[in-house]
Amino acid sequence: EADIYQTPRYLVIGTGKKITLECSQTMGHDKMYWYQQDPGMELHLIHYSYGVNSTEKGDLSSESTVSRIRTEHFPLTLESARPSHTSQYLCASSDSEPPSYEQYFGPGTRLTVT
């Protein structure tokens, strides 16, 4: 069973607020990812990290930022939340050893910006 955690699970917040979505994994995985998914729609990669102090933007442009100071922790921050940020945010991690392409996903944070 994958050990990847996201908090909070649900967040309703007003426009203009700064928010941080937490993601932690206890598997020692080097690689971590953030995806954004609107209801009934595809997942889109917004950030990824290959290790400590490594972060890259994904395929979908996002106003959020991430940091990777510790292997197990990969928080996502929105400096000023807007209604357009309303979505589900999924964190994932994977091992660096091939050949598996398996990513372990957390339960997600459903964000609503009013």
């Binding site: 990812y33 290959y50 990513q103 996903f105 997600g108």
Partner: protein, 110 residues
Amino acid sequence: LAKTTQPISMDSYEGQEVNITCSHNNIATNDYITWYQQFPSQGPRFIIQGYKTKVTNEVASLFIPADRKSSTLSLPRVSLSDTAVYYCLVGQPYGNKLVFGAGTILRVKS
């Protein structure tokens, strides 16, 4: 990254075998084929991965023809709990970016 095409939705009944086919005409030589399952309000979960021929695990089989331009996920004797979205992905096995398409909504009825 190779683009994939899957049916938008499929319906089945409990106890039946379900086959979901994915087309990936532009698959590269060293790309792997991976399938994920996603339930509502949850993150996707890895089902199976393969490179060629047939792969089987405790939950599914993956059939890949010699030209690798398509693949078929086979779920034996589905139950109501198999109702979910199934994603076919094609890409490098060494970690990094997964590209999820629209997936196939599988509805299992009693």
